[in-house]
Structure formats: structure tokens, C-alpha cells
Subunit: 345 residues, 2 copies
Amino acid sequence: MAGIADVARAAGVSKATASRALTGAGYVSEATRTRVQHAAKELGYVPTTSAVSLVTGRTQTIGVVVPNLDRWFFAQVLGGVQEALLERRYDLALYSAPPESDARREMFTHFLARKRFDGVIAVGIEPTAHELERLVDFGKPVVSVGGYDAGTSAVSIDDHAAARIATEHLLGLGHREITFLGGDPDGRQMSFGDARRLAGYWAAMEAAGARGGGRHIPSEVTMPGGYGAAVELLGDRLTRPTALVAVCDEVAVGAIIAARRLGIRVPEHLSVVGIDDHEYADMFSLTTLQQKPDQQGRTAVRLLMAQLEDPATPGSHTYEPSPLIMRNSTAALDDATSAIVTIGR
Amino acid sequence: MAGIADVARAAGVSKATASRALTGAGYVSEATRTRVQHAAKELGYVPTTSAVSLVTGRTQTIGVVVPNLDRWFFAQVLGGVQEALLERRYDLALYSAPPESDARREMFTHFLARKRFDGVIAVGIEPTAHELERLVDFGKPVVSVGGYDAGTSAVSIDDHAAARIATEHLLGLGHREITFLGGDPDGRQMSFGDARRLAGYWAAMEAAGARGGGRHIPSEVTMPGGYGAAVELLGDRLTRPTALVAVCDEVAVGAIIAARRLGIRVPEHLSVVGIDDHEYADMFSLTTLQQKPDQQGRTAVRLLMAQLEDPATPGSHTYEPSPLIMRNSTAALDDATSAIVTIGR
DNA sequence: TTGAAAGCGATACCAC
DNA sequence: GTGGTATCGCTTTCAA
């Protein structure tokens, strides 16, 4: 529990000098600096953060807001943010709460007001008007990841393009009956990014004049959600599409499992494309558009730090790449597939 | 940015009285109390945490240490902890870093020293001797979840019993060739809980005189890990067991997927039991031993709060229940199964 | 029941 | 370069 006063005494200098020597701000002779540092180490001195915060106004803490922890994307982003923050010796205050929940409201009304952090990273969140307002008059830098871009800095993939490319890949293989799988049942709760994906899908379908073959089947955005929806969708041979664009890999994998159980072979009888490159993608040979959420987390931290150092830094939306990873879940719509589908009709 | 001085002025009282009225400590007349509270609300007053911490010594923050974020168990625990903390208006400082990593070392040497939190919840962690030492001389209460019980308070299921029950279930169905699937390849890194499960499995096998039919196949403790290991294990018809106890549901599900791909029917040709009751368990009809990590997280918070209120509270290990959930991934070893296995031999 | 004043542990300004 | 000192915003004796 040694304080800076102890360090100063041990080094035979004043508190002021000790502080300067330790923080590196201001002039200190090389000799005293080393002497003070030595004393500090000797005594195991660690500055009391609350005291530092009180006087400097900086907390060395970043607040991170996530809707939940059990979806791959969020967990990955959080991991990346954590790493990047750790490197910079920043603490991470976690606030996870689903949109529209009491906990979420509580968070916004209570915690954000506590000016406890120097900045906020909001993951996959489309804030409500009220939340947005609070975030803004919070007066500290905000960076959003994979979500709504509220005029603040943001980082995400180009969701619209990703889904478009996925769809075009399928169209290029000759598919016309392509269903978009996943996204919240009652559209309202569909996350911002997911909605953009759906839009990208429709854009591609329309551009190819295949609007008629398109359909959106909602589902919870989880593997079981994708599984359940796919069982229903694929169970009916009459209306079954020849290809699927899934809102994300978790849903895609659920669909593949459903297809297998129904005796529908992927990719021979059904092509599936996902978005994410989830850790499960490989074991299902899933063709997908890759994104690296942990990288996005790191980028978000970088953006935030830039604004912290120079508040004048303009907000910017960084789009991370999302390349197509070809595996083995898609195939050309050949005669065999057509035949099978036709027979069903 | 209203401070308590502003509130006091607005209410026509001194800072001292305002503080008492707001914190609820000390005598204040009912009249002034409401007047102060009103003024505070009016001005949108929020106490500056660093100032409060500086004088009270309490940070209203709990540090949570997890090995990583993308395993179901950890994410669930973290979610439960977050909720319970939020209710109590505590902040959650997240420290996730894999054991033996630089980040992990950094965490322990640097962050824990920052006396930034009132207590620590360590999830699924078997601290090294050095880490343990730091955690202890950190001098603040520590509660561990699902991991090593360092004489501090702890909460977990009875891993040994869970695996034993799972194994006995299989033995009761007539199986003798039962393999334990999962756990780190080179035993050393096997988590404390996982090691206990393996021990419980062996205990049951031995008690049934079936030691000879037992085997431990290591694998990464993930779905792809279980998948990969199961493909190898089940691919060889000569040595294939008739039943599997998986270290957790993720591994169990990976094994089921592998079995299906190999044309091995579950449960007709292969019985599988998991541990967890993961959100995927249902869609695979997985029989498993249920645990509720989020509850464990909540319990951990309760234990911690008790110690915070009264440091004399003795540490205690709370065991949460882990009931057997019967679904449809296990079946009696009947003639059919035996026949199939025999043919293979 | 209330108010004045003394810290909590650091930083930062201003003389020296 | 270095040392006194005011200060950050609040809680908490101690008197009144």
C-alpha cells in the first residue's frame, strides 16, 4: 500500500518530482528519474487509479456494450477488443444486455452517466433514439462495430456487398430458386447488419431478374434457429429452393444439418452459402464470406484511441474486407439437381 | 456535470447534508432528504466514481477473469455474472486471457495490482502458484466458478459425480465398451473440471469392473475438436466403442455429427452422453447432464457480495445440481448393436 | 439534525 | 530541474 509520498521519501525527492519521474511528464534529471523508479519498484508502488482519475479526468477504462455474449460474432469482437485494450493497459468495462430489456435501459440511464470510462465501443447495436441521445451527450468518443453507424466512428464489413456476392455466386452457378435464410421473424428486431445483408441479397436477385425465385425465411439467428427453419423449408419438396444464402454461418450450418437429416445432399442437391467463416465452417465444408470480428474489435480500439488522443479526429466508417472462401457447399445447378427438384414438383 | 456542491446549493443545504441524504448514511430529516433527492434528480446529478472510490476505498467494480470468450460455458457464466452485478449496480471489469499466455501474465502482474475492484470472480481457472499468490495477497475476496477451489469460495457442479452418473447410465444400458471423449491432448492443460470428469468416468468404469472397456481419447474441447476425434475413433470398426461419454456437449455434438457422416446411427449403433445441456443439445436429442452456468455466475456474485458485506464470512464451496436430462441419444446395448459391432470385428 | 473542515492519493501549476 | 501547494469531488469526523 505504498503511496507516492513513500516513494518520494525513499528517493529523497518531493511528491511532485516523484510524480513527474513516474509519469514521464515534465523535466526530471536522468539521475533522479532512475532513483525514483527504483524506489517505486522497490516498494511495489502502484498508483491508485481513482486518485489519478480524479485529477486527470481519465479513467483508463473503455466501456463495451454488447447485446449478448453467446453469439460468435459478439464474443469474437469482444475478444479482439479485450486484447487490444490490454496491450494499451486499458481496462474493459463490460455491459451486455439485449436490446429492449430492462437491463439495457438500466445500463443506459445509470451506467453511462457514471462517466466511468474514456470512451465506448458499441457492438452490433442499433441504439434507440433515446440511447443514441445519451451516448452523444455522454460527450466521449463512441465507436460502433458491425452495427449502426450513428455518425460516430464505425467499423464493419460491407454487409450489403457480402450478401450480394454470396447471392451472385449462387446465381453464377445457375441457381434461380434461392432463399435467404435467417433474420428475426418480425423484421423489426432484425439487426442492422442482418437487414443490410437481406437487402444485398434482394439487390442481387433483382439485378439477375430472379426476383421471382427469391424468398426470405426468417429464423432465430442461431444454429438451432437455422436448423428449425430449414427443416420446414426443405421438408416440402414442392417448394424447396435449390440454394440458400444464410444470414450467417451459424444459420447456414443449422441448415446443412437439417438437409443431411432430410437426406438432401449438400452441395449436390442443395447449395448453401454463409457469411462469417465461423469456426464451424470448415468442418461443414461451408463456402462463406469471411469476416474477422476480432480484427474489427482491434480496429475499433485503434479508432477510439485516435479520438482519445486527438478529439478533433473526424469519425470515419472503416469497412473491413470480406473475401469469398470457397469450400464445398455450393455446386452448379446441373441436370441432376434440376431433375431431383423437378421430380419433386 | 453537476457536482454535489450544486445539488447542495439548489437544496439549500451543505455538501455534507446533501451527501448524507443521497447515500443514506447518517441522520437527515425526512424533509431535507426529499428536497435534496429532488434537487439531485433535477440537476441530473451522478456522483463521480473516482471521487467516491478515493474516499471510500470501494470501487463498485468486480473483476472477472476468464480463459476465453468463445466457449459456451464461459460465455454463459459471464452473462450470469453480468446480470447479477448489474442488479446490484456493480461494474464488471473483464479480463480474458488464455492460461500461460503473455496477456495472462500481464493481467496478473499489472491489473490485479491496480486495486481497481472490490473483488474477483475467476472462471474456470486453475491459477498457477504464482497467480494464486497474487490473487491472495491482492487481499480482496475471490470466488471461483467451475474451476479450481483455492480455499476461497467456489461454485461449480460436482464434475466427478456428473461424469460418473453419465457413465453409469451407459453401463446400466448394458454398454461395456465406453470411451471418454475430449480433454486436452497432453493432459497438462486439461482444465480442472474436465480432469474431474475424466476421473468420475474412470471411477464408474472401475466400479463396474469395466475398466478394460474404457479409453480416453483426447480432443480439443470444441465441436470441431469432438468431430475430428470421433471421426478417427469411430472410423475404425474394429476398435469402435458402443458408447461415448463426452467431456461436454460441444464435443458430444461433434461426435454425433461425425457418427452420422459415417453412417453410424445414434442411438441405435452408438450411444452418446454429454455434460452441459448446451443450447444445441435439444436439436441433437442429446442425453446429457444439465448444468446452468449462468446460475453459477449469479451464485458466485451472491457469494462475493456476502464476503464484501462481511469479510469474516467463511469461504464455501457451493455445488450446483446437475440432473440427468434424458433425450434420445442413448439406447440399451441390444442384440442389434452387438451384432453390428461383432460383424465389424 | 446540520455545517465546517479535514482528508482520500495523486497531478499540475507556478515559483524558485 | 525541483519543491510547495492548490485541486479533483466526494465522504466523514467533529462541533455546534
